[in-house]
């Protein structure tokens, strides 16, 4: 049995993809994270959702801004570490009243094996709050779809920057013995 648990498509990732469809999301950008692999795969296979792999997460903020100006809704997928890379570029969204949606897989909060993940893991939520985001959190698999759907609606209805922090416990422990 392959124990690479963070690589399989989870039901809550399918729920997120469904929420994207319901909100007419046309593009998803990302620096890949293991916790997002299933969702990235679903979006890549979906002909109505364009995807962009980024060299750094802040590129996705600018990409989302350009897509919005051009009439396309988009979402950014990233790990908590990536939030730190984005901070100044949020000025684009704040100044221009451009909606942003970040789905952030959390590291550094449960059985973390890599201590370098902990600084941004601990502060990603607070950093986003400081930058004016509406920050939501999903801790249980059953709640993810509804929370992401609410986040998308809030972002696009009210032209807000919204982030959903996806608990590290949703992914489970990474098996570092392999």
């Amino acid at each position: 049995m392959t124990a690479d648990l963070d690589q399989a498509v989870r039901p809550w990732q399918k729920d997120i993809h469904a929420a994207f469809k319901a909100s007419n999301v046309g593009h998803v950008s990302y620096v890949p994270d293991g916790g997002h692999r299933g969702l990235i795969g679903l979006c890549a296979k979906d002909p109505s959702i364009g995807t962009t792999v980024l060299t750094t997460e802040e590129e996705g903020v600018a990409l989302s801004a350009g897509l919005w100006l051009g009439g396309v809704r988009s979402v950014l997928l990233m790990q908590s570490s990536g939030v730190g890379n984005c901070l100044n570029l949020f000025t684009l969204a704040e100044n221009c009243r451009i909606p942003l949606v970040l789905l952030v897989t959390m590291r550094g909060e449960f059985a973390e094996y890599i201590p370098w993940q902990i600084p941004m893991g601990k502060r990603a939520g607070a950093a986003l709050e400081l930058m004016g985001f509406d920050v939501m959190r999903a801790d249980t698999p059953e709640s993810v779809g509804d929370i992401c759907s609410g986040a998308l609606d809030q972002a696009f209805f009210s032209k807000r920057c919204v982030a959903v922090l996806l608990s590290q416990r949703l992914i489970g422990r990474k098996n570092w013995s392999k």
């Binding site: 060299t55 590129e59 600018a62 897509l67 100006l69």
Partner: protein
């Protein structure tokens, strides 16, 4: 001494006959140059978020595939977002042009030398990232040909224009991002 281009006349020439073209101006001098060529609701003045201009252009180009998108930015701003060349190369949208006004200086902050003054060749970087045909220009005689290509949607274009250093009259457009974005979106929807 190598020829250099005059920035205001070059930008004005490249924007002649812009018709359907959407324009992004990166922070600093390119904003003043684009505004000096004539304000337009379809100019997105990107006053901050240094490093973002090319990626904003990519988003626009993907969202509006039938319209030419031109990004005017400076060497300093482009250097801060160099990865964008690689990210753009995965899509290679035919309707996207990046025009880099390269005076090898950070003009806003006291004319400090940028990396292009120390040897970085941005066109070579773009080619190495997968954007074929990226080229450097310093001859005014090439500008009419470039102008035609920039509005033609025939392939992703990166043009590095070697510009005379120095100050220009500071012609300053709207700075309120909400106003800039709103009028842009409204003009696009017409």
């Amino acid at each position: 001494m190598s020829k250099l281009l005059e920035r205001r006349s070059v930008v004005a020439q490249l924007l002649k006959g812009r018709n359907e073209t959407l324009v992004v101006a990166g922070l600093g001098s390119p904003i003043y140059d684009v505004f000096a060529a004539g304000d337009n609701d379809l100019n997105f003045y990107d006053w901050g978020a240094m490093g973002s201009a090319a990626m904003v252009g990519l988003g626009l180009a993907l969202a509006q595939p039938s319209r030419p998108v031109v990004v005017f930015t400076g060497d300093g701003e482009m250097l801060m977002g160099l990865g964008a060349f690689s990210t753009i190369a995965q899509h290679r949208p035919p309707n996207l042009s990046i025009v880099i006004l390269d005076n090898e200086q950070y003009a806003e902050t006291g004319m400090q030398q940028t990396a292009t003054g120390f040897g970085t060749d941005l066109a070579a970087v773009a080619r190495a990232c997968g954007l074929e045909g990226a080229a450097t220009f310093n001859d005014a005689g090439d500008m009419e040909g470039l102008r035609e290509r920039v509005h033609a949607c025939r392939g992703t274009l990166v043009a590095v224009l070697k510009i005379e250093p120095g100050d220009q009259p500071r012609t300053v457009p709207e700075r309120d991002g909400a106003v800039i974005a709103e009028r842009f979106i409204k003009a696009l929807q017409v």
